[in-house]
């Protein structure tokens, strides 16, 4: 066993964030992070259970998996836990009919959901669909409801694409929360319910699972709240100032996914 790697003991399953861990995204695809495709293969060969736990809402899971496979990652739709399917479950449970302000490529995830006469707004990372007109439309629907219901697919501040930083869904969530004086319900990381559903897919209890991500709050903080260990990779949107975060401290930092997998497999 390696010294100082107690955090890697008694692991049976891994939850992996995707953007910033497996690859760096861009509007037209993205580029793999060095060593991550090989690391994914080693996880699968080791017998460890694996689930991707992503806040990706710019594509259906089918198209997301197609993109990942094109980049060299051997994953299946069943291995992806994402906010849109979780939101569909919540909408059905509560009889909610959404107005969607999401990326146009995400719309098919809501194909089976009744969207007539909306009684809530579902907000995703709509990217180019974040127009002045679309934001006003979502706002008017919310303010016109007796009790406005705003469901946000994640609450990230920003993310990094190959051409620079972009405002994430959380910024637009805050705009609508303020204008309507409501609090959004967040589906996706860091919500406890979302991590629990990813763990259920993984089939491993939290104390035997490790989350690996680049987002100190949404990945690391959220997973730790569920009783999991969590690593922050120094790739993706990681910034050195994250290591002084006032509230969240990862169980360990690793330079990248490949390094994390090396250490974990040595402890098996």
């Amino acid at each position: 066993a390696m010294a100082g790697c107690g955090w890697a003991r008694a692991v049976r399953g891994l939850l992996l964030d995707v953007s910033g861990v497996l690859y760096d995204g861009s509007a037209d695809g993205g580029v793999p992070i060095a060593g991550s495709a090989e690391a994914l293969r080693r996880i699968k060969a080791s017998g460890l259970k694996l689930q991707l736990c992503t806040n990706e809402t710019q594509a259906t899971r089918e198209n997301f998996v197609r993109k990942l496979r094109a980049l060299g990652f051997e994953v299946s739709v069943a291995e992806v836990t994402a906010p849109a399917p979780a939101a569909c479950g919540l909408l059905r449970e509560r009889g909610l009919r959404p107005h969607l302000l999401v990326h146009h490529d995400l719309v098919p995830e809501f194909a089976e959901i009744d969207k007539t006469n909306p009684n809530c707004v579902v907000l995703g990372d709509a990217a180019e669909n974040f127009t002045y007109a679309n934001l006003n439309e979502a706002f008017r629907l919310l303010i016109g409801m007796e009790k406005p219901v705003l469901i946000s697919l994640g609450k990230g501040r920003y993310y990094k694409e190959t051409d620079g930083l972009k405002l994430d869904v959380g910024a637009y969530m805050k705009a609508l929360e303020y204008a309507c004086d409501v609090q959004a319900e967040v589906v996706g990381k860091p919500s406890k319910r979302f991590f629990e559903s990813a763990l259920a897919e993984l089939g491993v209890p939290p104390e035997q699972a490790i989350m690996i991500g680049d987002d100190i709050e949404n990945d690391v903080g959220g997973a730790q709240q569920c009783g999991m260990r969590a690593l922050q990779v120094r790739t993706g949107k990681y910034r050195p100032s994250d290591e002084q975060h006032p509230k969240v401290k990862p169980d360990a930092y690793v330079n990248n996914l490949a390094e994390a997998v090396d250490i974990i497999l040595q402890q098996l």
Copy 2:
């Protein structure tokens, strides 16, 4: 004297909000609120001092006054206190060079200000200029500053135009505040400094002035914080739920400006 109108005694000057009090705006002009042009004439004929105190940032004061005169309101540029000129004063004082995310018709107000190599962002009600690209640009400038400075021309939640409610600058301010983890400096109502400059223009101390507006927080709350009395009109964006506001209670409600002026003039 009318019963229950003690709030109208000992008045020497009025501060009036404009949109929702004098007229309801629209992209191509707007429509006067019934009785408000006549009420404005009666104020001027009475000898009461008058100042318009607006968070309007979709036009220069010159163009704003031109629009008001076309709608039948006899006002001059000197009678308008607006955020952009106040912001220019602040930028000069502190040697700040702004990146502007404002309505294109407001840009001339900043003609004399150095805008090279920006070290702050000035945010106004940019309307159609609130595009995804422009919001990302402002965000990247801010997050790239060692100490981000965000100056917001007002912090309204929303306002009403003839074709419906629109998100106001405050919603976009919250989006950038959250993404950059900064607190904006607000120039305009409800800032105390802004009301004090309007009172200075009015030439009347706060205890002899009344603010009349349709915004429970920015007009009524802000003016009361400065020691003025404040009325809420039941026109513009007024909603019955405003009367249950948890923190702000107007000195009186009036149906519209005409009713307020009737009562005030009877007490002179």
